[in-house]
């Protein structure tokens, strides 16, 4: 309860002056059980920008992304050391309820995962959860417009969300995530299950969405990072200790990361010299 109001205050107070950093992930160590998965990475997320996370498989992109809204709390063996500040408030603080965090920081997953409910109910889910009392139809329509899927579903809002194609399901999930107008949207390879056309639509959508939201995007696809990300964070894997620990190698404007990176590792990766 208390944490809720604190988050809210933090969000509102900081909102006008929040040009700049919305979230700052100051990760020291992240463990799954005894396994050190990611270490020493500072990843600031800027407002109304798309921050792309790239790097080889297993370097901890998803782990870092999911630390940003405490999704990893679902995994009992997960342990986070460090801080993730959201408008200055550490979301890993004991007082903070992760449930509240996730209402401000929404998430779109790699696999489309609509609920086994109607399209309408999928989008209304978060609003109902938040006790929204206003014009539900209007908000649902707005979210579906926002996710660029309104025209395809407007005549079948009562149909199951699962009856849509994969690409439509993913956009429905985006609509579901933005219906409550969260502050930040985390997207973990949202296009990996989609065909090139659906991928393009979702990419265009991301660029539209960043007008209103702040987005952090994990992608395996370098072209995608170049097309949509304003800032890119490159993660690498350190195998020197005999284990595989991910860490942030370099972060900067996307153009710079892809054209003139400072680190040799980044250069090799973006040129496709290793994966």
């Amino acid at each position: 309860m208390n944490a809720h109001s604190e988050m809210k205050v933090a969000a509102e107070v900081a909102a006008p002056a929040s040009l700049g950093i919305v979230m700052n992930c100051q990760l020291e160590k992240v463990f799954y059980g005894d396994f050190l998965a990611v270490r020493n990475s500072v990843v600031p997320i800027e407002k109304n920008k798309i921050t792309g996370f790239i790097g080889p498989s297993g370097c901890g992109k998803s782990t870092v992304l999911r630390s940003l809204n405490r999704m990893n709390d679902l995994i009992p063996i997960f342990r986070f050391e460090g801080k993730v500040t959201y408008h200055g408030q550490d979301i890993y603080d004991k007082k903070v309820d992760p449930v509240v965090v996730r209402r401000y920081i929404g998430m779109v997953f790699q696999q489309p995962n609509p609920f086994a409910m109607s399209i309408y109910d999928n989008v209304a889910f978060g609003l109902r959860l938040n006790g929204f009392k206003g014009d539900m139809d209007e908000r649902v329509e707005k979210a579906l417009h926002g996710a660029a899927i309104w025209n395809e579903v407007k005549d079948k809002l009562k149909n199951s969300g699962l009856s849509l194609s994969g690409g439509q399901q993913q956009r429905l999930c985006i609509a579901r995530a933005i219906a409550t107008e969260p502050d930040v949207l985390l997207m973990d390879e949202p296009c990996s299950a989609l065909d090139p056309i659906a991928t393009r639509r979702v990419e265009e959508l991301m660029i539209e969405l960043k007008e209103k939201y702040t987005i952090a995007l994990v992608t395996h696809n370098m072209q995608q990072a170049m097309r949509v990300a304003d800032t890119t964070a490159f993660f690498g894997v350190d195998i020197s200790q005999g284990s595989r620990t991910g860490y942030l190698v370099e972060m900067g404007p996307t153009k710079k990361i892809f054209e003139e990176p400072e680190q040799q590792l980044t250069r090799e990766y973006v040129r496709g010299e290793f994966s």
Partner: protein
């Protein structure tokens, strides 16, 4: 391999269908004389008198439905609660498996053992509670009589325990079938654990849980031995949970051994009525499930 298996599956399904039709046919044939003699009045009459050859099964129909419904409510609530408890990370998974095995073992207990347990353990335990309820809340129809031994409450409680494994294990299966990504989606939207369970997991598993309830209800309707021992075999219709009652299955079990030819014909009619109730319940259950599935899931 696959085709062979499919062949066996089809053959079994066809065999079951033939068997059901055969049973209906056989019982129907034996019930025919009584049907023509007593007509539909058999279903609405309340006397069962061999001397005067007056037969009616309304109290038994009432008792069957009432006891099964009570058992369904109790067994359903507890069965679903257990399924939630076992699947939604309340228990370490090893422990959950142990619990589940224990509950499934309930299904292996012979119903006569349940009956004995009911008589020697449950009824003595229930009596003070029943007396107190009757004494202080006797104006409520459900507590309108006192418990003098066998009766609806012990019967329904035992029935509830007997259908618990069915309800719980099928519900566990349907909850467990939900992909992890659905749970992630729920938490990602900012649900609490209970919101995730009540607003996402249960609706997603609803058709399976409904199936569990239908099967449990069917089992309760047909349960014989434990009920014959616990329900009191009284031909009366009462709302009171503590009154003795009777069910169709119990009537059949307790009357057949000593029945003469006239009574046997009436009993066949009663058996047909029980069969009809069970089939109707299952058909309605299936229809509801179909509807729910259409509502919640993809039509693929």
């Amino acid at each position: 391999m696959d085709r062979g298996f499919r062949g066996i599956a089809w053959a079994s399904a066809a065999f079951i269908l033939v068997l059901v039709v055969y049973i209906i046919f056989e019982i129907g044939g034996k019930a025919l004389p009584a049907m023509s003699q007593y007509g539909l009045g058999f279903l609405t009459s309340t006397t069962w008198n061999v001397q005067t050859e007056q037969f009616g099964i309304l109290p038994q129909i009432w008792g069957t439905l009432y006891s099964s419904l009570l058992a369904l409510i109790l067994g359903g609530v507890f069965g679903i609660a257990i399924a939630i408890f076992l699947t939604q990370d309340f228990l370490h998974s090893g422990l959950a498996a142990v619990f589940r095995t224990i509950i499934e073992m309930l299904a292996a207990i012979p119903s006569v053992v349940f009956g004995l347990w009911g008589i020697y353990v449950l009824i003595p335990l229930l009596r003070p509670v029943a007396d107190w309820l009757h004494g202080s809340l006797g104006f409520v129809p459900f507590f309108g009589t006192s418990l003098s031994g066998p009766g609806l409450a012990p019967a329904a409680l035992v029935l509830a325990i007997m259908i618990l494994p069915t309800v719980a294990s099928i519900s566990v299966d349907s909850l467990r079938q939900i992909p992890y990504k659905v749970k992630e989606a729920a938490y990602g939207m900012g649900t609490t654990r209970w919101e995730a369970i009540l607003k996402v997991m249960l609706p997603t598993a609803s058709s399976g849980i409904l199936a569990a309830l239908v099967l449990g209800f069917g089992r309760a309707l047909g349960e014989t031995m434990a009920l014959a021992m616990l329900i009191g075999n009284a031909n009366q219709i009462s709302l009171s949970l503590f009154a003795p009652a009777n069910t169709l299955a119990a009537l059949l079990a307790s009357s057949f051994p000593e029945a003469g030819p006239v009574e046997v014909r009436a009993l066949m009619y009663a058996a047909l009525a029980l069969l009809a109730i069970t089939l109707i319940v299952n058909a309605v259950g299936l229809a509801v499930m179909k509807f729910a599935t259409r509502k919640f899931e993809a039509e693929r």
